[in-house]
Amino acid sequence: MMLEIRGLTKHFGGIRAVDGVDLHLGQGELVGLIGPNGSGKTTVFNLVTGIYRPDAGSVTLKGENLVGIPPHRINRLGVARTFQNIRLFRNLTVMDNVRIAHHSHLGYGPVAALCRTGRFYNGEKELNEIVEVFLSIFQLQNRKYEIAGSLSYGDQRKLEIARALASKPEVLLLDEPAAGMNPYEVGRLMEFILAIRERFRLSILLIEHQMRLVMGICERLAVMDFGQVIARGLPAEIRGNRKVIEAYLGEDVAIE
């Protein structure tokens, strides 16, 4: 099991944002986490990546505990994420965004950097190759000298995924990667997600509202409402689940 979440609980004042959530993600799996706004999906991501500390429950990566470990160490253990409300290094170049994510795998030390020894130049060259690799996946290689904040919304979302990949994760958490994208872009994004999973042997947990994307590429789904997982199963099963339809849409409406 890559990622295993058991009994995860987080309160904010009197609100139970996440209440006893169990989730697991196997090697190479692509699992969707869906649910209405405010149901606690993003809080689950924040708990897994160490931004919040859970009140109860456990999170393990390949059997190793992640609770109480600072976010940067969790990233180095192999968990990377994107953010719902895009958190790029806005005033830096596209290239710098990717290079920064690779910092923990850097090939030169601080002394080499200050004295600009051969190691520094080799390390920088290596970084450029890495930038090239990750940007070309998302067809952003021609944009590498541009300021990240000046990219279009869709490109910013793609850059965020490229940046997450540059930190060499085994588990990738995508928080609404298709938000704000048009149908064509969503189609391309689905291809990208499947391609990177294959290429980097990733296990992916995905929060999404666009049903086309979720139903199209996820192997399993978990549905959250009021901090709890109310249903789980194959996309086809979830599609017809009465509890889900009620939670999600309120009334007797079929999905799609």
Binding site: T49, G50, I51, P70, P71, H72, I74, N75, R76, A80, R81, F83, R87, L88, F89, R90, N91, L92, M95, D96, R99, I100, A101, H102, H103, S104, L106, Y108, P110, A113, L114, C115, R116, T117, G118, F120, Y121, G123, E124, K125, L127, N128, R163, A164, S167
Partner: protein, 321 residues
């Protein structure tokens, strides 16, 4: 080999700048008063580059930069006065000790406060600056040589044009090499988005410490040079307003812009001294009215600083293939 080659340009620049300025001064072309102002400008530029690392690059708000400048000044002056005499080597060591003392104190301030958000550092450094002013004022109680509120005298005049040019170029070289490396980009990522930096594997606490301590070290070294420029130290040279002066320079130059900080440092010092010449006698204190006006105008017209995002060629980052 590459290291040696990369040193050619700085050494040539050093020889040219130090040599030509010294020649102009020796030959009587520039009078000693303006040479001293130039030396002061270089010293302020070193200190400002330090605050630019802290505020401009790392995004940490520090209001106590002058306190670290003072720690460097008093440390270097005390060491030179008691052990150094007139020796150039001892002077060099004393300057490094001044920087080291500032760095050590910065560590003590940073350890508890940098785990919190940036605002707390602002408050902590503000308080620290005020405490240090009191310490300098009453320093003669524990070390009579420091002079306390009467000021410290008997410091050797060791600071010369070659020394200030050397340390200014060295500080520019260090900032440039730091910022245009992966370590520098890690520092910049904290300013950009601390949470994103953390989740991308950057130990933000560690790099905030690096930025803060490095910046304070610059202030310490600059303080040591300052002490041996006028051969007199007074606690009022290191009060809260002196911290604000450096902050204004960094903001005028554009946050995180090394060239802008450099130009703004020289502009600031020469403007202050120039106004002393230009303004009619009795109105010299109006300088302190003109400077804030200048600041407001700059913030309205060029909020990104005088240079914007541009850098001098020698301070630019390059992509190595």
């Amino acid at each position: 080999m590459r290291l040696l080659r990369s040193l050619i340009k700085p050494v040539v620049a050093y020889a040219f700048l130090a040599g030509s300025i010294s020649l102009l001064a020796e030959g009587g072309v520039v009078n000693p008063y303006w040479v001293q102002i130039l030396e002061l400008a270089c010293i302020v530029a070193i200190s400002a580059q330090g605050l630019n690392i802290i505020y401009g690059h790392t995004g940490l708000f520090s209001l106590g930069h002058a306190a670290f400048y003072g720690i460097g000044a008093y440390t270097a002056a005390y060491l030179m006065k008691t052990y150094g005499g007139q020796s150039q080597a001892a002077f060099f060591a004393a300057l490094l000790a001044g920087g080291g003392a500032a760095a050590a104190v910065a560590c003590l301030i940073g350890l508890p406060t940098l785990r919190l958000t940036s605002d707390y550092l602002g408050i902590a450094t503000l308080g620290f600056g005020i405490i240090m002013k009191v310490v300098f004022d009453s320093a003669d109680r524990f070390l009579p040589e420091l002079g306390g509120a009467r000021g410290m005298t008997g410091i050797a005049k060791m600071t010369t044009v070659p020394w200030v040019v050397f340390f200014l170029l060295a500080s520019l070289l260090v900032v440039r090499n730091l910022i245009h490396s992966s370590y520098g980009r890690a520092i910049l990522s904290i300013r950009e988005d601390e949470i994103a930096a953390e989740t991308m594997g950057i130990d933000t606490f560690q790099y905030k410490m690096v930025g803060f301590v490095a910046g304070c070290t610059f202030a310490g070294v600059a303080g040591g040079l300052y002490a041996h420029l006028y051969a007199f130290l007074h606690p009022s040279n290191f009060d809260f307003f002196k911290s604000i002066d450096i902050l204004v320079i960094v903001v005028l130059g554009g946050l995180g812009n090394m060239s802008g900080t450099l130009v703004a440092s020289f502009g600031w010092i020469f403007l202050l001294e120039g106004l002393r010449v230009v303004l009619p006698p009795g109105y010299v204190e109006f300088r302190w009215v003109l400077i804030p006006v200048l600041l407001i105008v700059t913030m309205l017209l060029r909020p990104q600083g005088i240079f914007g995002a541009r850098e001098f060629p020698f301070l630019r980052g390059k992509v190595y293939r």
